[in-house]
């Protein structure tokens, strides 16, 4: 860094191509040239004028230096809680971009930065993508400090750690790993940190970038869960999981993930245990209906008709009579139409509202059947499958369901029920082969652990869930009846 004030200012301006939001103010204190600099796009004008301006003018008014030089004097008298001294241009620009103001004193090759961030975040709102009926309504926002706060206020334990790193060569995004030190498996934390440090990318825009960079892409099912609910994160932390928070993202990642996590909702703990268990089992049934029903229909109507009761088969046959396409084409037409409809529904602006659902319902449901393009039973099959697949709020799992559904259909179309059985074996084998940070994906089913069933596939009353899940970490499992 240079020592001359003009050189420093010009260098910074040059670095940023004289961007229009760079704001510099020069003034003299006791004949020393001083300047402060901030980016008006991210800094708060109010804070700078009211607090920084005021405190600097005190320096102007006071006749003598209490400290050795003006730099130390300013550094020691400025009324701000986040004052730092930095001395490289890169650092200066990082702080400027974060909404800090830099104060330069002529003749010093360092500068004082202090926090003057403008509030660019929305306030904490209700969770929109993971709603619960009765439970906390707050939700993470784009501000990482606020997100950390939402967790900290729920777990007031000195063992709750936040480890910060910066990822992304250009975006320099803060990534915070959070865990409860005496519950978590340290090896997993180390492994995760190592993985994060290996990430070499220009920018991280969203936590999904990290999610993708951390997981191995060989399976269709996601291996990291993301949530916008602080209560879900806190439950997971207490179970021994690790949370990854990423700056500017309202979604927090949770690791390691097991298959059962996709079927659990925080709501399960806010309702009666029996009802929650029932709902959980229902979700598993829905999952298998979603991926298997179209395939089974294809298999039993084109290969294994013997297994269908006579009157049902006759009814299938009559409905199929006027349809000119093979069953697989018929189903694919409807599935593609449904997926397009779903995509359109997600992307369209709210204001276009009902038009898509009307067109979709009328054309898909009514007209296509009466025009003889698809048979009514196929509409029922696809609807049942689609509705069953909609019980999951994570788009990753919905998409995994879609992929497996189509794979199963192709298997059924080529080999009938035998094809479905073989593909199912492949499916289960693949699930069983996944490990996330050393935790088997199918636990507690495989490796089998009866103790963990209480709080996995079913949900027992809180009093009877005496331990944390044993598959994340083996030590310090006590939940009820232990010291801490």
């Amino acid at each position: 860094m240079d020592k001359e004030l003009d050189k420093i200012i010009n260098h910074i301006k040059d670095m940023n191509g004289n961007s229009s939001d760079i704001n510099v103010r020069y003034f003299n204190i006791h004949k020393e040239k001083v300047a402060f600099m901030f980016l008006e796009s991210v800094a708060s004008d109010d804070k700078i004028s009211n607090y920084l301006g005021k405190s600097l003018s005190i320096n102007v008014r006071s006749k003598k230096n209490i400290f050795e030089n003006l730099f130390d004097n300013i550094n020691n008298t400025i009324p701000n809680s986040k004052v730092k001294i930095i001395n490289t241009y890169d650092d200066i620009f990082y702080h400027l971009s974060s909404g800090f103001t830099c104060i330069f004193v002529n003749g010093f090759d360092k500068c004082i930065t202090l926090e003057t961030k403008a509030l660019l975040d929305r306030s904490i709102t209700e969770a929109s993508s993971e709603p619960v009926l009765k439970g906390p309504k707050d939700c993470f926002i784009e501000n990482i400090l606020a997100n950390m706060g939402l967790i900290r206020k729920r777990i007031k334990d000195s063992n709750l750690y936040f480890d910060e790193t910066k990822v992304g060569k250009r975006t320099k995004t803060k990534v915070v790993i959070s865990y409860i030190n005496d519950i978590v498996d340290k090896k997993q934390v180390d492994k995760l940190k190592e993985k994060l440090n290996k990430i070499d990318i220009d920018g991280i825009i969203d936590s999904n970038y990290i999610k993708e960079l951390l997981s191995n892409q060989k399976s269709f099912l996601p291996r990291v869960i993301s949530t916008e609910r602080p209560d879900v994160v806190c439950m997971s932390l207490l179970n021994g999981k690790i949370a990854i928070m990423v700056e500017n993202t309202p979604y927090v990642l949770l690791l390691p993930t097991v298959f059962a996590d996709f079927f659990n909702s925080s709501e399960d703990y806010y309702t009666k245990p029996f009802n929650a268990s029932f709902t959980r089992i229902l979700r598993y049934i829905a999952f298998f209906i979603a991926i298997l029903v179209p395939a089974i229909y294809i298999a039993v109507t084109t290969f294994n008709m013997e297994v269908v009761p006579s009157s049902l088969l006759i009814s299938f046959s009559i409905q199929k009579e006027s349809v000119p396409f093979p069953t697989i084409i018929e189903i694919l037409i409807l599935i593609v139409a449904y997926e397009i409809l779903r995509e359109a529904d997600t992307r369209k602006p709210q204001i276009m509202g009902a038009s898509i659902s009307i067109v979709g319902a009328l054309i898909l449901g009514e007209a296509a059947v009466s025009a003889g393009i698809i048979s009514p039973i196929v509409v029922i099959i696809i609807s049942v499958s689609a509705v069953s697949g909609m019980g999951f709020n994570d788009p990753d799992i919905t998409n995994a369901i879609r992929t497996w559904r189509i794979l199963f259909m192709l298997a059924a179309c080529l080999f009938g029920l035998i094809g479905i059985v073989i593909l199912f074996i492949v499916f289960v084998t693949q699930l069983a082969s996944i490990e996330v940070l050393g935790t088997p994906f199918l636990s507690p089913l495989s490796p089998f652990s009866l103790k963990d069933f209480k709080n996995s596939i079913t949900r027992f009353p809180q009093q009877s869930i005496k331990t944390r899940p044993t598959y994340f970490n083996k030590k310090n499992l006590g939940r009820i009846g232990s010291e801490k």
Binding site: T302, M305, S310, S317
Partner: protein
């Protein structure tokens, strides 16, 4: 990546073995086989469609016939009239004419058992005094398909009546091939005019002019039909073969009729030294009384009970008499000896030993309930 591409290509090479579209199949739910000069096969196809006046589609039964020297040819002849492939996995019922049952049972059993498509759990029934093909043609207002109607009729009668029972194809073949036992089959007949029975008008009337009615059991000797049992004999066969769910026992008491309904009947038998001992355990409840008797009196109950026991013994004796007269062991006494007392079994069981078997019957009856009222309602 190139290696991975091979997998879908291999999958496509295999083609779609056994792939059939549903609308290319003629789903057959009933078969009837007659013998005239050659075999005549009648099949009932269930998935032809009928469009209602409001545009709704419902299934309709259609019947096709074909002739041939072999069953195979007769089926092929039938399919000449069809735009679809005959599909035999969903047969409800197979109707056999008496002629076939007397002479050509083996051909039919061989064809249907060998044919990979058939599911072997369809029911067999004899067409008593009628052409088997006509049985499938009689329309019925209660079910869409005559074949389904017949199969359900057999099942419900088996459960509620006690004089006939269902025999499915597997069971029939098993009985035929088992040593020391001969099969029986239920029979069905047509009441009314066949010609008007196969028209749709038949089911539009409040009182169908033509309908199917189940008749008594037909008994076989080896693979040849011999004769029909009458009502009492049929009941006896049911009792010995342990097939009774409900059975009405009718006795005379003080010159009036008393009906006892038998439930939970359990029969077992053993054969020792050319003597059959049949043990029957059962419950009963009084269902209908004409005469003015005092049911509170235990003596009366005992008298009714004893008469019931006598009646049950009479049914059993009649059935055994019929079988012995025709020299065919339809109860499996021979099979019991074959399994438990092999030395005393004779190759010619039906001819030599069975007609001369002595019979002992023990009946244990618990007369439990008297219905909703105790005594007969007195009309003053």
């Amino acid at each position: 990546m190139k290696k991975l591409l091979i997998i879908p290509l291999i999958l496509l090479l295999s083609g779609c073995y056994n792939y059939r579209e549903l609308n290319e199949l003629a789903i057959t739910t009933g078969i009837a086989i007659d013998k005239e000069e050659n075999y005549k096969v009648t099949i009932m196809i269930a998935n032809s469609k009928k469009e209602g006046s409001d545009g709704s589609i419902s299934p309709q039964a259609t019947v096709y016939e074909g002739n041939g020297d072999t069953i195979y040819e007769a089926f092929k002849d039938t399919s000449l009239a069809l735009s679809k492939q005959i599909y035999l996995s969903h047969i409800d019922v197979l109707v056999l004419s008496e002629e076939i049952a007397k002479n050509n049972l083996n051909d039919i059993i061989d064809f249907l058992f060998r044919y990979p498509q058939t599911r072997n759990n369809f029911q067999l029934v004899l067409a008593k005094d009628k052409k088997a093909g006509d049985i499938l043609k009689i329309t019925t207002p209660l079910e869409t398909f005559p074949s389904q109607n017949l199969a359900k009729n057999l099942e419900i009668t088996d459960k509620l009546q006690g004089f006939t029972y269902t025999v499915d194809f597997t069971e029939f073949v098993k009985t035929l091939t088992t040593e020391g036992v001969n099969p029986v089959l239920p029979s069905v007949t047509i009441i009314g005019d066949v010609e008007s029975g196969n028209k749709n008008e038949n089911i539009e009337e409040n009182e169908p002019q033509t309908y199917l009615k189940l008749d008594m059991l037909g008994i076989f000797k080896d693979n040849k039909f011999v004769t029909y049992a009458d009502g009492d004999e049929s009941k006896g066969i049911n009792i010995i073969n342990n097939k009774v769910y409900i059975l009405g026992v009718i006795i005379d008491y003080n010159d009036k009729k008393v009906v006892t309904e038998i439930t939970e009947m359990k029969t077992d038998f053993e054969v020792k030294n050319n003597k059959v001992i049949i043990n029957i355990k059962t419950n009963g409840s009084i269902q209908e009384i004409d005469s003015n008797v005092n049911l509170d009196d235990n003596k009366v109950i005992d008298e009714i009970k004893n008469k019931d026991i006598e009646k049950i013994k009479e049914y059993v004796n009649k059935a055994i008499d019929l079988a012995q007269k025709n020299k065919t062991d339809i109860f499996g006494f021979g099979n019991y000896v074959y399994k438990n007392d092999y030395k005393n079994y004779n190759e010619n069981w039906d001819e030599v030993i069975f007609p001369n078997l002595e019979v002992e019957i023990n009946v244990e009856l618990k007369l439990q309930a008297k219905g909703s009222i105790n005594n007969v309602i007195e009309v003053n």
